[in-house]
């Protein structure tokens, strides 16, 4: 923990100094959302207060960084009547880890796809590094929930795909791919085809494939949604570790509150029909995140808070309806 922090700071400082980002006019960006204050959340636990203060400075530092993604009045409609996203105003900082949650139908996947350039923007603007997003590009990587590795390519060839398709020299791409394979711990599998890998391995390759082109932003649309709980937890740790060591901003869509809190610096909560920003919540947990944090008071308070926010708009009405179950057994003793 103490070893990593200076490293991270150094990386960040370096990254910031050699970029022209700092010249951006930050006053333009608006955060038109209700922000929960971190202190408010953590007052209940005095023991965590010191830690929380440290986190606050961490978050302050985050917010001091330039914006990498700016959404200004972003709206997305399918057809004339169906509004999926409405008037989204949001600024995402460089090297931030933002998770997006919300009930189904809130347009969180559409948000990621719009940022990726896979969906057109109906109204408003989405800027990356100050440039409007007009289509997909290598500056924004994307990892999908569905396994999207190219099944006819080996692990290594998959990771090389983005590099070579941009005309990068093949042997250089191969060298970089090999480094990535080492990072994700699949050295033994570099010549395997995706059909020979488990779901978790496939998603690790997908992450490496996206990051190999050195995107500024990594968009992740419920990437661990299809994995079992154990694998999911391991993947979350992998992801954090990777993110901490490279200059990338992550926008991570999920429906799992634990995951959203565990990973994020800030959590964007959307409400459905149409998808609008409900709130933008700071996560008062220190980094590096440890599994113990999942049991802390701050974690639980925040989780409850988020659950209330989401359920107030949850439209799946059938959840509370009683089952029309009748007795189908002749065995006398009740199971309960």
């Amino acid at each position: 923990m103490k070893q990593q922090k200076p490293n991270l700071q150094k990386l960040t400082a370096q990254a910031l100094s050699d970029s022209k980002l700092s010249e951006l006019d930050l006053s333009k960006t608006t955060l038109g959302t209700t922000q929960l204050s971190t202190t408010q959340l953590s007052t209940t636990a005095t023991a965590e207060k010191a830690q929380a203060n440290k986190t606050v400075t961490c978050l302050d530092r985050l917010k001091g960084r330039p914006m990498i993604l700016q959404l200004e009045g972003l709206s997305k409609k399918f057809g004339p009547d169906l509004t999926i996203l409405k008037d989204i105003n949001l600024g995402i900082h460089r090297r931030e880890f933002l998770t997006v949650i919300g009930p189904s139908g809130c347009g969180k996947s559409t948000l990621a796809r719009t940022l990726a350039g896979l969906e057109t923007i109906t109204n408003g603007k989405a800027l990356i590094n100050g440039e409007p997003i007009t289509g997909p590009g290598p500056d924004r990587g994307m990892v999908f929930q569905k396994y999207t590795l190219f099944p006819w390519l080996t692990v290594k060839q998959n990771i090389m795909f983005g590099l070579t398709s941009q005309g990068r020299d093949k042997s250089q791409a191969e060298g970089e791919a090999r480094e990535w394979i080492e990072i994700i711990g699949l050295t033994k599998f570099s010549e395997h085809y995706p059909s020979q890998l488990s779901g978790g391995m496939q998603q690790r390759v997908a992450i490496a494939r996206s990051l190999a082109t050195r995107p500024k932003v990594l968009l992740m649309d419920e990437p661990f949604g299809a994995l079992d709980a154990q694998t999911r937890l391991r993947m979350q740790q992998h992801l954090i570790e990777i993110w901490q060591n490279i200059d990338v901003t992550v926008v991570f869509i999920t429906h799992d509150l634990d995951e959203a809190i565990y990973l994020a610096d800030r959590i964007l909560v959307l409400k459905p029909n149409p998808g609008e920003i409900q709130s933008l919540v700071d996560v008062p947990l220190p980094r590096p995140r440890l599994p113990e944090h999942l049991k802390s008071n701050a974690f639980h308070t925040l989780k409850q808070e988020l659950a209330v926010l989401i359920h107030s708009h949850d439209q799946s009405e059938d959840v509370d309806e009683p089952l029309h179950m009748f007795r189908m057994t002749n065995v006398d003793d009740d199971a309960e």
Binding site: G117, F150, S210
Partner: protein
Amino acid sequence: MQPSNGNSKLLLAASFLLPLLIWSSVSYLPFLWHPNVQITKPGDVSYFRSEMQVERATFDSEVQKAIASGAAVPQGFRVNPVYLPAPDQVFVALYTSFTTEPKRRSEQWLHESLWHSITIIFWGFTLSSLVGIPLGILCGAYSVMSRLFEPFIEFFRYFPAPAFGALAVAILGIHDAPKVAIIFIGTFFQQVLIVANTTRMIDPALIEAARTLGASRPVVLFRVVVPGVMPALYRDSRILLGWAWTYLIVAELIGTSSGITWFITQQARYKNFDNVFAAIMMIGMIGLATDIILSRFSRRLFRWQEGGAH
């Protein structure tokens, strides 16, 4: 439900043995069908000749008449019509038809006829694929291409290929060129539409993934769409190749008759129906063998597919 490995082999054998069993019973059990009688002794019936075949009813009534009038009774045994040879005759013919010398000097041996047919198929199918597969992929990948080409092709494919026979001969002469053209016409239009449809079935998520990796449209086409649909295209081509054999029979009848079709018509004219059956079976065997070889090859080619792994 999937049968177990042993069972599926058994079923494979049975699927060939059952028809053979039916054919054998009809051929070798004299009480099954055998609608004719082959005469061994004509007796006093004026028009009966030895080795002549007559219908059973005719034979029976002549026998009745002979008994009633006290004349010599004709004798014979029940046989199947000459156009249904027994399995053993056909199996022998599978070999002997190769060794039978052509009746005229200008005529071809069977193996030459077969080879001729195979080259016609090969050229017709190859030429069609060289144009049809790329065009089909383009139609499947780009809606502009699809809207430009597919309506006309959809219309054209309803023209029966054999209808172009006379035209093809008039334009291309009487030898092999019009035959190749018929196979081309019969294959090409179906091929474009089938390939386009197959191409459309590629997982759009793969294309999206490629685009987020910064792949341009040509890169997506050549490095995602083409390799992605290749196994399905390979399967389509195997089916289309089977259809090409159907057009072969018509193609070989136009202009100067040639190839295996010439052999079949010639042998039917001589009433060598065992040779006719043998030739038809050869077409089937060549088709099946090609398909098996291609399927083996596909497992090698597309090793990355599920199940083909390890």
